[in-house]
Subunit: 407 residues, 2 copies
């Protein structure tokens, strides 16, 4: 999956032998270029649909505001006999997409991504002949000649994913998608506290634990019966996970975690990047355990509650706050804003009394991943509440939500 | 269709008896309010689907940046026995949508549009009970009570459409949609020259002529066999036409043109507004006539040419400019930008030689309304070219496009 490799280099603070997004051209001499292609012309043929799909996937990883002009390009690398690799990176997160191609002469090119993506997808179906000339790339197909002014491929960062082989786990795509849907909402958007913009992935004792929290809420997910040779954990950036989710479709996802990097591979697409450095907080303390005294338990139907909450959100309010009034007589839901007020009653089996306020959007996020009935447990007006599915495996997925304090 | 009427008032410069968007409350005493509803409670019942659809249509006419806070509302008017009228205006363009309802007590209300629209559409299907209390509106339906803080309905502008009956024409929806698709693209977005932001509609000699131009291009459309009792013309604001197009679906469109106003009605929706004052330029001079000497004629397939042009646009360039090279050997199309170049050949029967540059987007706009083969006629590198359908009625729809001068 690697594109080309610069020997023995490492960015400051990164162990040698594990280069991640190092700009490939070293200062000074002694540079060992790609095995072939240096000055030589790349000549390949590829189906328009294959190229278009690969470029489209890679394009999502091109930064909109490029830290360096060259990163506004996608890198084409034709080294093997039958594969073109299209890569892109924003220096935090990268992608490598392989597409079947006929390589007449190997070589590399970096082409401005937006225009390239847009034009390739508008080319007619059929075989395209690609040829480089210095930094430029020419595409020929029936009656059409397109030429692109590119960048020097040698100056593009090395796109390289984790190489160690012994920590791989494999997740069916549906499971990969589900665990991210169940947890990703809970990470923080606040880049000032980097740790919380990522998700803890913890492999050990034959289970994978995924935790996401922004302090106001937490999502915990456990997958059992995972075969992993040793304990390892890392904080994976949320945008890397989102990018992976958007890129993959329905193939099994291979996960490879190292001390500093993570790599997700499904079919012909590899998404990879550096882990977030630092210590994840003690998330176990944030989930009320069995010793905590529940003030109220309620069985509710998420679909019905989400309908009500969507109306509370529609009412406005910044932020929208919802009041839940739980009692033997049922569940009252109410909200208000400058524009007006809303009061509803929803069905539910309630055991205990409590009046508690939540950020409406947060409560929606927490309820959305559930399909069947859920058990909400309240531990008081100011303590985190928990949501669990009404099923035997209910402790494998727990959503925790801190109430809003109302004066 | 009118909601309520203030007698004998008129804004400066508008003839009495034809009030258009006059704020209803007069300075000082002597105000004659609506026939009923002054202080009285409105009480109606209406199906959620009917109210939701009407409010959604009216909401599109609510200005996003309101010139007056009250205009951020939609007006509900329940006067007749079986109809609720929902209205909105940005003072330039207005709408009245009627919906079947049961009126227990007549009355009016003005409710903040965004929240009202959002919430009503999220209410469950079924009957809603609406009731006003001063400026407030309460909606009740099973288990739900929503209350909105509204504005004083009496302070909302009078929503009034043209009343004279004798200039009506009727267009099948498909024709209404077609003539706007064929012409609307050609109006100007430059609000500094108001005349060109509108479209000339000219009724006379049993035909309707529609002309739109922004000086760089022009679209001419003629509908024959229109029964109209007298000659009348007006410049209709482009956004009013766009709003009408978005609001109507598939009913015949009734057009009523007066000296200062226009009104479009289809089914239960009336869109209306003031005409643009001023004299439209002599558009006949802008269409090359039979006396003009053609330098080159070409028959082309718009679909194929549009495919090529979409790739020229993808290449970028600000603005994108395309070169057409017409000769006996065919049609060459090329474009270039900082990023690269593109050259293509398209099929076409060409009679004559010319090399001419166009703004690519403008050429796309001009070709899009055509489906079958078109005849492009060129009168030189700097003279407007014309596009006509290859059909007997080809003079009923003409697109004119001025080339770009290249140094």
């Amino acid at each position: 999956m690697r594109m080309h490799r610069s020997e023995g280099q490492g960015a400051p603070g990164i162990e040698p032998g594990c280069p991640v997004f190092v700009f490939a051209r070293p200062a000074g001499a002694g540079y060992i270029g790609p095995s072939k292609g240096d000055g030589s012309k790349m000549q390949i043929t590829i189906q328009q649909k294959s190229l278009s799909k690969a470029v489209e996937t890679a394009f999502r990883f091109v930064p909109t505001k490029s830290p360096a002009p060259i990163l506004s390009g996608v890198k084409l690398s034709a080294m093997d006999n039958d594969t073109l690799i299209v890569g892109a990176t924003d220096l935090e997160c990268g992608v490598l997409v392989s597409a079947p191609a006929m390589i007449r002469d190997p070589g590399e090119a970096v082409i401005p991504a937006r225009v390239f993506n847009d034009l390739v997808r508008k080319l007619p179906d059929g075989e395209l002949a690609l040829q480089t000339n210095d930094h430029n790339l020419q595409i020929k197909t029936s009656g059409i000649i397109a030429e692109f002014n590119g960048f020097s491929a040698e100056e593009y960062p090395v796109l390289d994913a984790v190489k160690e082989k012994n920590y791989d786990i494999s997740l069916p795509y549906s499971v990969f998608r589900q665990v991210l849907d169940q947890t990703l909402y809970s990470i923080s958007a606040d880049t000032a506290r980097t740790i919380f913009t990522g998700q803890l992935w913890q492999l050990g004792e034959n289970e994978l634990i995924i935790v996401a929290t922004d302090i106001h809420r937490l999502a915990f997910r456990r997958l059992r019966n995972m075969e992993c040779p040793r304990d390892i954990s890392g904080i994976i950036p949320g945008n890397l996970l989102q990018n992976a989710l958007r890129s993959f479709t329905n193939a099994a996802v291979n996960v490879r975690l190292s001390e500093i990097q993570v790599r997700f591979t499904a079919d012909n697409i590899t998404v990879f990047g550096r882990l977030i450095a630092g210590n994840y907080p003690d998330w176990r303390r944030m989930i009320p355990g069995e010793e905590a005294e529940a003030m109220c338990k309620a069985m509710i139907e998420p679909a019905e509650m989400l309908g009500v909450l969507s109306r509370v959100v529609a009412l406005g309010g910044n932020p929208s706050v919802v009041r839940l009034t739980m009692s033997d007589s049922g569940i009252g839901v109410s909200g208000s804003s400058e524009i007006g007020t809303l009061e509803e009653h929803v069905r539910g089996v309630v055991n205990g009394d409590v009046e508690v306020y939540f950020n409406t959007e947060y409560l929606i996020d927490s309820l959305k991943p559930f399909s069947g009935s859920v058990e909400m447990t309240f531990y008081g007006e100011t303590n985190p509440a928990t949501i669990r599915a009404d099923c035997p495996d209910k402790d494998d997925y727990v959503a925790v939500l801190l109430p809003v304090r109302m004066s």
